[in-house]
């Protein structure tokens, strides 16, 4: 039987745990309570302009109109289904902002994603899985892409010279005039002051609590790095 028969949004159903209606309602209330919410949703007359402009709709089983409709109808079950699935297909380009009614399905999705992350929904964990390395790099070192990521076997499309560069990476980096770029493990020299300040910001703003809810392993290795460095800088902070 063709997979396309039936309600399109059910295609990926049952890949996540169902929860009680009360829980779905609680999540929706959290979305609605966001102060941006009421500036993003004014009602929909199904003109389809958002879908026509949406790059994700061209490639995925995704429709920004469904987002606006489900929220406007307060369809709690469907909203939960969308939060566990569809909202992660949006590329957040905000092309749908051209809605003649002033809706912004893309920005509604931003709010829904934030609620999904805050509540540790399975879809959020899955969607963010592939970003673990990037988050680890940024949060532990303060810079994202580092020269030593230039692994010849990871980037065969970069051609034969990548081998030569990877082998003499330190030397190549030293050829760059600014001394702050003589690094291989980070994109540039990150000063102690900067990194300590970043750690303190993430600690105080609850970012670490968010990460703990999404990826316990990532949390564990970040805390390990941060606590040690904070201690060296004279801060007595524990994250657990």
């Amino acid at each position: 039987m063709s997979k396309n028969i039936g309600y399109p949004l059910d295609l990926k159903m049952n890949h996540y745990a169902d929860v009680s209606y009360d829980e779905k309602e609680r999540l929706f209330e959290e979305v609605k309570a966001d102060e941006r919410y009421h500036h993003m949703l004014y009602g929909c007359y199904e003109c389809g302009i958002c879908v026509a402009s949406c790059p994700s709709a061209k490639f995925y089983d995704f429709s920004p109109r469904v987002i606006a409709q489900a929220l406007a109808r307060e369809d709690v079950d469907l909203i939960y289904t969308l939060m566990e699935d569809s909202i992660w297909d949006c590329s957040q380009c905000f092309s749908c902002d051209r809605c003649p009614r002033g809706n912004s399905p893309g920005q509604l999705i931003t709010i829904m994603r934030e609620v999904a992350v805050r509540n540790g929904l399975a879809s959020a964990k899955k969607a963010l899985e592939g970003y673990g390395r990037i988050i680890y790099k940024i949060m532990s070192t303060g810079s994202q892409v580092s020269p030593d990521m230039l692994q010849p076997n990871a980037f065969p499309d970069w051609g034969v010279h990548v081998n030569e560069i990877a082998e003499n990476l330190e030397l190549w980096r030293k050829a760059l005039p600014p001394e702050t770029l003589h690094t291989t493990e980070t994109g540039w020299t990150v000063s102690d002051k900067t990194i300590i300040e970043l750690y303190l910001i993430w600690h105080m703003t609850g970012v670490m609590d968010l990460i703990e809810g999404i990826d316990e392993g990532l949390f564990m290795i970040l805390v390990d790095v941060m606590e040690e460095r904070l201690e060296d800088a004279g801060y007595d902070i524990t994250f657990d």
């Binding site: 899985e129 673990g132 390395r133 990871a154 392993g217 990532l218 564990m220 290795i221």
Partner: protein
């Protein structure tokens, strides 16, 4: 040096295995233990790009990270299966982290530790058929794909 194959994953029957955390423990004659990650772990992670162990002298409680492993698609801790002090790290892993992929039970060992309370910690791990069965169950329940050895693998025998 026996082993079983579950879903193409090599599960040695002579090592103490923390099935939940995908790690193993080998008890050495000098009272230390060698710790590493399992074939299942290397397969799930994919080709490993960086492996950074904590330094010798670091005391670790069971369940805390003894190393951070990065692959193209994953970063995470290797959680210590025992409490104790790290006495030696596998220096070769820094230069050649793929040893974790090709030889997870031998050349790809991660650290040696002096355990605080080995008997109690080992009681929480599984060995032999028990470990194999526990892994079989985990692989089924968590729908873990068959182990791949795209970097090659050494024969455990």
């Amino acid at each position: 040096m026996g082993y079983a194959k579950v879903n193409e994953c090599i599960i040695p029957t002579d090592l103490h295995i923390a099935v939940k955390d995908n790690t193993w423990v080998r008890v050495n004659e000098d009272g230390t233990v060698t710790v590493g990650m399992t074939d299942v772990a290397q397969s799930l992670a994919g080709p490993i790009l960086h492996a950074k162990s904590k330094s010798p002298g670091t005391a670790r409680k069971k369940g805390r990270p003894i190393a951070t492993v990065e692959s193209g698609k994953w970063v995470g801790p290797i959680k210590s299966p025992v409490s104790g002090e790290i006495v030696e790290v596998n220096e070769e892993l820094a230069a050649n982290p793929r040893l974790l992929n090709t030889s997870p039970y031998r050349k790809g060992w991660v650290v040696k530790m002096k355990p605080d309370n080995l008997d109690a910690d080992l009681a929480d791990l599984q060995i032999g058929d028990e470990a194999v069965e526990a892994y079989r169950k985990k692989i089924e329940e968590e729908n873990i794909p068959a182990c791949s050895h795209i970097e090659g693998t050494e024969d455990y025998e």
